[in-house]
Amino acid sequence: MAYSEKVIDHYTNPRNVGTLDKSSHKVGTGLVGAPECGDVMRLQIEVGEDNVITDAKFKTFGCGSAIASSSLATEWLKGKSIDDAMKIDNMDIVEELALPPVKIHCSVLAEDAIKAAINDYRVKNGLEAIVSEKVHH
């Protein structure tokens, strides 16, 4: 199966690879997936004034599409408000990266990672976690 150019671009030059200080109250960390399933994503956000995401970093164990999905997610997160970040849908990622049906789960994982990071940040700061009712495509 051939990858789309955008997947190859993100895979070859992944954006925002790295680690933020997870003990900081400004940082939310989402760790999703499982090694047994062949993909694990760790996505971190740093939230500044007015609930705006000032930085985002990721590390991913997985296939090219999983790495590209998380790289793209960090790119989209930077500068977004938490509320807008919550609205990122896995199908947006599928569309942007032209993921084939067998790789949709990579985008689902990225969306889960975003939500997990936001909730980690919320809980750290005395807010309730937001439960997503969404049924994935």
């Binding site: 499982a34 399933c37 694990v40 164990f61 889960d112």
Partner: protein, 421 residues
């Protein structure tokens, strides 16, 4: 200094000139055809196009003669006589003919077949078919090195057992089963011994007499011959083995496999066998040296593991897991290397390799596996390049891997509650 730099540059250019990228290291999947095989085949497409079954004119005789010669070439490679070779469309057909054909022929005698869990799908699925027809099949597990336990085989034998089918060399990990001992156990209990020898024939010495093999499947395209042609060896003496045809028609191949013979393919298979016969010994030495180098260099990487028994192994195969790196992601990074992986992401089923799992490998290690399959046209330069690219890619992806970071920080990954998805 400048001279030195230029020199290095020129060397690199030279290497790149010599090597054609991408580099093919997936010779267990298929092999390129040897040009000498192609030369032997070509006349049989055009001027020598006759039907080998045409008994009354020269066109038929020429074709028949070519087929007879190929039959000898194939037989010789495995120590058989030419009358024991049945040409087929490939090893999948040979496996099906053997399993289903023996079951149909001997079902009055018994309905039990023994095989193993690491067999090729052609054997496993033919066995599933036999189960639907009322057969009983035992799928022996393998030990963590990929070898079957002879004691378990002995215990699985029953008076109803008509066939034991165990592969010679495994396609994913290259492990060579103790076929001689397996055959002896089968025979002791009055059962036949069949082996899928697709990966072993032409790579290591295989002899049906010495090994006690009653049926053997082989394929053209794994031994630098053409695709779409294979053979089934069916023993004629001590005992005389019969299989019920699975393809009915004009009664070709002693009634066991009807259908006009694929003369160019058969000529190619014969030539491929002849070349293996001549070159196998030196080639096995050359390839095992290259393979050992590759393996030694790559297992220098931390947390890398060789899968399967390394002593009883085909000379050209190394299956290595690079922990904390996912196989498909790794193959994407090594885009100039054609290899394969046991990762789920490479299969439609999203399940990692059943062969690796049957060794007791955890799913995450199965996901991290890469199979390197060297071949006749693999050069040392290519192996050196593969070593460099693999090392670089594993290190790069580990920088990207949260699991690697956690491992390095001393986090026990087995204690983390992962969300299955």
């Amino acid at each position: 200094m400048i001279l030195n730099k230029n020199f290095t540059y020129l060397c690199t250019v030279n290497i790149l000139k010599r090597m054609n990228l991408p580099i093919y290291l997936d010779n267990n999947a298929t092999t390129p055809m040897d040009p000498r095989v192609l030369d032997a085949m070509l006349p049989y497409f055009t001027s020598k196009f006759g039907n080998a079954a045409s008994r009354n004119h020269a066109f038929g005789w020429v074709a028949e003669e070519a087929v007879d010669y190929a039959r000898e070439q194939v037989a010789k490679l495995i120590g058989a006589s030419e009358k024991e070779i049945i040409f087929t469309s490939g090893a999948t057909e040979s496996d099906n003919l053997a399993i289903k054909g023996v079951f149909e022929m001997y079902k009055e005698k018994g309905n039990h077949i023994i095989t193993s869990v690491t067999e090729h799908k052609a054997i496993l699925d033919a066995c599933k078919h036999v189960e639907k027809l009322g057969g009983r099949v035992t799928y022996l597990p393998v030990k963590e090195d990929g070898l079957i336990d002879l004691q378990q085989l002995e215990e699985a034998m029953t008076p109803e057992t008509i066939l034991v089918s165990i592969m010679y060399g495994n396609n994913e990990i290259g492990v060579i089963q103790p076929v001689k001992e397996i055959a002896a156990i089968a025979h002791k209990h009055g059962a036949l011994f069949m082996t899928d020898a697709v990966q072993a024939v032409g790579k290591i010495p295989v002899n049906v007499i010495e090994d006690g093999i009653d049926l053997l499947a082989l394929s053209g395209h794994k031994i630098y011959g053409p695709k779409g042609v294979g053979a089934l060896y069916v023993r004629r003496k001590g005992p005389r083995v019969k299989v019920t045809a699975q393809m009915d028609g004009g009664g070709h191949e002693r009634g066991m496999r009807s259908g006009t013979l694929n003369v160019p393919g058969i000529v190619g298979l014969g030539k491929a066998c002849e070349l293996c016969m001549q070159e196998m010994e030196s080639e096995a030495k050359r390839l095992s040296a290259l393979r050992d180098k590759l393996q030694a260099e790559l297992t220098v990487l931390e947390e890398s593991y060789v899968n399967g028994n390394v002593e009883h192994r085909l000379p050209h195969v190394a299956n290595i897991s690079f922990k904390y790196v996912e196989g498909e992601g790794l193959m994407m990074a090594m885009k100039d290397l054609a290899v394969s992986s046991g990762s789920a992401c490479t299969s439609a089923s999203l399940e990692p390799s059943y062969v690796l799992k049957s060794l007791g490998l955890s799913d995450d290690l199965a996901h991290s596996s890469i199979r390197f399959g060297l071949g006749r046209f693999t050069t040392e330069e290519e192996v050196n390049y593969a070593i460099e690219v693999t090392k670089k890619s594993v290190n790069h992806l580990r920088e990207l891997s949260p699991l690697w970071e956690m491992f390095k920080e001393g986090v026990d990954l087995s204690k983390i509650e992962w969300a299955e998805h």
